[in-house]
Symmetry: C2
Subunit: 326 residues, 2 copies
Amino acid sequence: LEVGNESGSEFVIGVDLGGTKILAGVIDPTGGVLSRAKKKTRSERGVEAVIDRIARTVRRAVEKAELDFDRVERLGIGAPGALDAATGVVAEAPNLDWKDVPLKKLLEKHLGIPVTVENDVNAGTWGEYRLGAGVGVRDLVGIFVGTGIGGGLVLDGRLYRGSQGKAGEIGHIKIASSGPRCGCGQVGCFEALAGRLAIQRMFKEAGKKGKESSVLRAVEGDVSKIRSGAIAEGYTSGDKLTGKILDEVILRLADGIAGAVALLNPEMIVLGGGVIEALPDEFFEDLLDKVGRRAFEPSLEGLQIKRAVLGDDAVLLGAACIAREQ
Amino acid sequence: LEVGNESGSEFVIGVDLGGTKILAGVIDPTGGVLSRAKKKTRSERGVEAVIDRIARTVRRAVEKAELDFDRVERLGIGAPGALDAATGVVAEAPNLDWKDVPLKKLLEKHLGIPVTVENDVNAGTWGEYRLGAGVGVRDLVGIFVGTGIGGGLVLDGRLYRGSQGKAGEIGHIKIASSGPRCGCGQVGCFEALAGRLAIQRMFKEAGKKGKESSVLRAVEGDVSKIRSGAIAEGYTSGDKLTGKILDEVILRLADGIAGAVALLNPEMIVLGGGVIEALPDEFFEDLLDKVGRRAFEPSLEGLQIKRAVLGDDAVLLGAACIAREQ
C-alpha cells in the first residue's frame, strides 16, 4: 500500500499525543508500523517535560525498529484540542492544560526533523482514509464515540479543516432542543446524548430510580468507572438496563449520523472510538439498521458505513501519512 | 467585479428553472444582469414543452439585451431536484414531474451553445459566493428558508456536491427526535420544524385551539395561503400568535444553523429564501443572537452570518458563474 505521493523510501514517525499517554510508531514506506513505544504523558509536569517525553518515546520507537535515527525523514503528531495545522501551534488543549504551545517548533528543536501537527481526530480520520476502512473512497466522515464524540471530514479526497481549523465537531451538532447539559455548555449536543459520559449519566439516573443492573453492581454505583468494556459486557450478557440504555443510544447515534449524511452526502461513514470498538457486531448492525430507517433516504444511496479498523494506531498512522504528504 | 478566470469578454446566460416559473438573464462580463425574461414553466405540458419554453425565455432575454445571440458563449441553468452536474441529467425533480431528463443535451440541441446544469440551491449559494454576500470568503454555507429549507456548501473555495451530488441537504438534518412528519418521510428534520410549511402547520394547530390571529383571519383559516409576506406582516404588526410561532421558529433555525457551524466551521453563513427575505432586521438580529447563544462556542469565532443579497437573481447568477468557470 503506497502512502502519499512522495518517494517510497521514507521512514516516518507517527505520534499520538493523548491526555494520559504518548504513543509513537515508526512507519515504513508501505504504511506498516515497524515498531511502537508508549509513555505516560504526565502533563502536570509542564510543557517542556511533555515535549521531552514525546522525544524520548520517539527515540525509543526508533531504537525498537533497529533503525538509525538519520533514516527518519519526518514526524507527524496528532494532538488533542484546537490547533493550527499550518503553524503547528496548539491554541488550547484542556486535556493537557496547554495554551498556545508551539508544538511543531519545540519538537523540531528537540529532534532535528520536520514536524507536522494535526488535530488527533483529523489524524485518525485521515489514517482510516489512507490505510484503513476508507481506502479507495473520496468522501468520508469519521465519527469516534468515546468519552465524547469527535469527527473528521475527508471531502473530495482532502482533509477539510474549516475556516478556523475546527471543522468536524459533530459531537456538538444539535439533535434535540433540550436534554442534559453538554461539557461545552449547550444542551441538545449529539455527544451529550450518545457519548460515554451520556451513557454513564443514563446509568446514574436509572440507579437513582432503583433499577437493577450488573453494570451498576460491578462499579458499586460509581458510574464514572463504567468503561466501554463494561458497557459491552452488560450488552452481551443480556443485562436489561444496559439493553434499554443502548436502545436509546442507538437512536441518538443514528440521528447524529443522519445529520452528517444529509449535510455532506459522504460515500462512507467510518465509526470508531472506544464505545463502538467495544460493542459487538450485533450492536453495530442494529445501528446500521436505525440509520437506514432514520436518515434522509436519497442520501443513503451508495453510502457505506464501516467500522474503523486501525484501532489505537489510527492517529499515529494518520499523522505519519499527513507528514509524508506535506 | 470579475467573474471566474475566463476571458472577461463573454456574455453568458443564467437560467433559474423553477416549478412555477422560468427566469433567464443575460450576464455581462462584469457579472451584471443586462436583461431578464420570465415565463411560466407549465411542467404539466411535458418535458419537450418546458425545454421549448426555456429556449424561448432565453431568446427573449437576449433580445431585450439588444445582443446578437452569437455573442452568447454559454448557458448555465439551475434546476430543482437531484441531478448529475457532470452529465447534466436531472435524475428526479418532483416539482417538474421529471425523471432522468437529459437537460444539458436537450438545451444544447435547442440553443447550439454549451450548457452547464447545476442544482438550483447550489447555484444560488455559488451566486452569493461569487457576486453576493460571500465575496471574499472561502468557506460558506448557504441556507435558504422557503417552503422547505435548502442548503449549499462552498468549502475551500469550491462547490461541494458530495459523493452523489446531494450534499447540502441541511433541511433534513435532525434537530429533534420527534415532531411533525417531514415531506421526506422522517421526523425531526430541520425543515419540518422551521420551514414555511412548518410555520403554516403551527398556525393551523393554533387555529384549531381557537387562537386569534390577524394572519389566520386574512386567509380565512386556510393556512396553505399564508405566504412569507403575510408572516412578516403579522410579525411587524405585533400579532401575538405570529410572534409566539416565530419565537419557536427562531430557536429551531438557530439549532439547524448551529449544526452546520459545528460540523463545518464555515467563515460565513448566508441566509436567504422567501421567509428570511420577508422578515425584518429585528427578526434577523434576534436569530443571530440565538445562534450566538446556542451554537458551539469555539466555532463562532470569526463566523459571519449575513443575509443573502441577490434575491431572485441568485440562482441565475450562480448558474451563469458556474457555466463561465467550467
